[in-house]
């Protein structure tokens, strides 16, 4: 893959957000972060376009559910695939309800995280 993949990381935990950003940059991704759904919407509107959104569910201000509702209304952002990353029991079901492409349970390992992102992005490009 020649193009750099941009990942929008949406999580209210500062350490996790920083860690994810650090790890993903290490693996060659471009990373944009937001600490809640509202910030994430602002990032989407400001650009650059994200290729995948890593979305936590339980967040203050605007949670993952509300973000999904709003995301589909942002021009050009409707189709960006979402991977739910949550510590919530039953996150799989929530992810399915939100039509996320994948669901990762916290704590996730780096390898699993990378595999999932690659798969989701490849899937989006193939479609």
């Amino acid at each position: 893959m020649t193009e750099i993949i941009t990942v929008l990381v949406v999580d209210d935990d500062d350490d996790l957000r920083a860690t994810l950003a650090e790890a993903l940059v290490l693996y060659g991704y471009r990373v944009v972060t937001a600490s809640n759904g509202k910030e994430a919407l602002a990032r989407l509107e400001a650009g650059p376009r994200a290729d995948v959104i890593l979305l936590d569910l339980m967040m203050p201000v605007m949670d993952g559910w509300a973000f999904r509702e709003a995301q589909v209304k942002v021009a050009g952002a409707q189709e960006i695939p979402v991977v739910v990353l949550s510590a919530l029991t039953g996150a799989e079901k929530a992810a399915a309800d939100l039509e996320a492409r994948a669901c990762l349970m916290k704590p996730v390992g780096l390898d699993r995280l990378r595999e999932t992102i690659e798969a989701v992005v490849a899937d989006g490009q193939a479609a």
């Binding site: 935990d13 949670d63 919530l88 029991t89």
Partner: protein
């Protein structure tokens, strides 16, 4: 018949005949307790005289004749009458018959006839009385049977629900018709005020009206009678007649007493409902004029209310328990969410640190070893968090199995392979003993958990001796046994090792939350199976998982809806 001398009252207007009768009767051994020359005189004196029998002339001076007099007296006293008369015409006899006379003596009488008439009358009267007593006893027994049946039926109905609203509805409906024609139940609300919670009426079309009455039955608390008073004092009330509307309004505090007439009720009982040590409400029973309440109805009403109280207390305890379970489940969910969140950056950071260690230096090996320990402990922490949640899930009312057909022997091999490295480290040989595939329908993931747990325990307590996993086909059941030759388990500890947080060994020697066996037991039960354990201390232990081979497919435990299933209930924050 009693040995006491019989008391006779004479009603005769001819003084000579009266005196002769008195003489004759006394000679015959009777006591003459009084006499009267007219009906009026007889009526005024007979009550004081308390006679066992009236000797009555039919033709009397004064307004009333003997037949009218006898009829008037019999309305007040149960006393036999023997007529002494010179007449015996058809009309007189017809009229006399209406007073159910016990005998006739035609004048002029003789002693023998008189005595025979009196004795027959007394005997007949006594027989009638015994018959009436017997009938009354039978009726009482029948009433008692009906009452017992009613209370039994009421209890069955009341105790077959654990919902408060359903219990009070049933209380109102089951009390009809035995105890009431209209029943209204009031319970205290959160602020301690009585609120109508159920209403019923014989006529289903009047239930709405009954509800309306019920709402006006709960007046200000200052009154000395009525529902509010019973609620305040805990004392029952019986008002056989509440026909007077202004009285009902003023004394009982009934807001719209005209409703009583519309409902056709005019007799009232109010009893308290007690549970958890205090008055929690009242039951109002109302009946029609034809079935006015009597004192004994109050006893029944109180007994009924006592049972309603017990049922409501049960419902309350059940709801409290449900709430506690719900709270625990919610807590466990929040707790596991909170525990997993910091594990995530920790795990990622460890991974990145590990990759930063240069491979060539001598000190690297030591650093890598330390990372491995940290990583292993992190993995253990992750599994503990998962276990914690499993406990909540199973304790909270079960979980759904995802059954499929597979070979238990194959699963045993999978698990053994996964534990090969750990077994080698501990110095134990670990092998599967099975001669043929053992197929069945089970939840593969859950059984993997169970077998892993049993194998992990066997290695942990196996003291480096061999561990064997045996799978057997036993017809309708399949068994998987994990046998070690380690320290074993004391007999007294065998029973409780499946309990939550129980471990047979001491805390100092072995770590772990002790949830594994508990969860394994619950998972086996979810399959309709069980886990048994046998051991001899010092000689090792064998844990056997028993599974019905195909029953599992039909087993689907009740799934409790937890609060992560939708937008409405999800917990906020963190």
């Amino acid at each position: 018949m009693s040995e006491a001398r019989k008391r006779i009252f004479i009603v005769e207007d001819q003084r000579l005949i009266a005196a002769d009768l008195k003489n004759t009767l006394e000679k015959l051994g009777y006591v003459v307790v009084g006499g009267a020359a007219s009906g009026e005189e007889a009526l005024s004196e007979v009550d004081d005289a308390k006679p066992d029998l009236l000797l009555m002339d039919i033709r009397l001076g004064g307004e009333m004749d003997g037949i009218e007099t006898a009829s008037a007296i019999q309305k007040r006293r149960d006393v036999p009458v023997v007529y002494v008369t010179a007449y015996a015409d058809e009309e007189t006899i017809r009229r006399a018959k209406l007073t159910s006379p016990f005998g006739y003596v035609v004048k002029p009488y003789n002693e023998r006839e008189l005595r025979a008439a009196i004795e027959i009358a007394l005997y007949k009267h006594e027989t009638d009385r015994l018959l009436a007593d017997e009938r009354a006893r039978r009726q009482a027994a029948e009433e008692f049977r009906t009452l017992v049946h009613f209370l039994d039926r009421a209890t069955v109905s009341l105790t077959s629900t654990l919902s408060t609203s359903e219990t009070v509805e049933r209380a109102a409906s089951v009390s009809i018709p035995h105890l009431a024609d209209c029943c209204l139940v009031d319970l205290a609300n959160d602020r301690g005020r009585l609120v109508q919670v159920a209403a019923s009426h014989m006529d289903p079309e009047k239930v709405k009206l009954a509800r309306k009455l019920g709402r006006t039955l709960v007046p200000e608390l200052g009154l000395e009678h009525g529902a509010a008073a019973t609620f305040r004092t805990g004392r029952s009330q019986i008002h056989p007649s509440i026909d007077d509307e202004s009285w009902a309004a003023e004394i009982l505090g009934i807001g719209h007493p005209e409703l009583l007439r519309a409902l056709g009720v005019s007799s009232y009982i109010c009893v308290p409902i007690r549970f958890a040590g205090r008055v929690q409400g009242v039951i109002n029973f109302l009946r029609t004029e034809a079935r006015r309440y009597r004192a004994k109805d109050l006893d029944v009403a109180e007994e009924f209310s006592r049972r309603v109280g017990l049922a409501l207390d049960n419902a309350r305890l059940y709801q409290e328990m449900e709430a506690a379970v719900q709270m625990r489940d919610e807590f466990l969910q929040v707790a596991s969410h909170e525990l997993r969140t910091p594990l995530t950056p920790l795990k990622l950071q460890l991974h990145m640190l590990r990759e930063m260690v240069p491979g060539a230096e001598a000190s690297s090996a030591e650093v890598v070893r330390k990372f491995d320990v940290a990583n292993r402990q992190l993995g253990r922490l992750e599994r503990l968090v998962e276990s914690l949640l499993e406990v909540g899930r199973f304790g909270g009312g079960g979980t759904a199995l995802e059954v499929e057909s597979f070979d238990l022997v194959e699963l045993a091999h999978d698990v053994v392979e996964r534990f090969a490295e750990e077994a080698a480290t501990k110095g134990s040989t670990l092998r599967v003993n099975a001669s043929q595939p053992v197929e069945g329908r089970w939840d593969r993931h859950r059984l993997d958990q169970v077998v892993s747990n049993l194998v992990s325990n066997a290695l942990k307590y196996g003291a480096g001796h061999p561990v064997e996993v045996a799978v057997e086909d036993r017809g309708a059941e399949a068994t998987l046994s994990v046998r070690d030759e380690g320290i074993g388990i004391e007999a007294e500890a065998l029973d409780r090792i499946f309990g939550k947080f129980e471990r047979a060994s001491s805390v100092r020697n072995y770590g772990g939350l002790g949830l594994g066996l508990y969860i394994s037991g619950v998972l086996a039960q979810a399959h309709g199976g069980r886990i048994t354990a046998s051991s001899r201390p010092g000689k090792g232990a064998t844990f056997t998982l028993w599974l019905p081979r195909y029953a599992a497919a039909s087993h689907r435990a009740k799934r409790r809806e937890t609060n992560h299933d939708g937008d409405h209930h999800r917990p906020r924050g963190g």
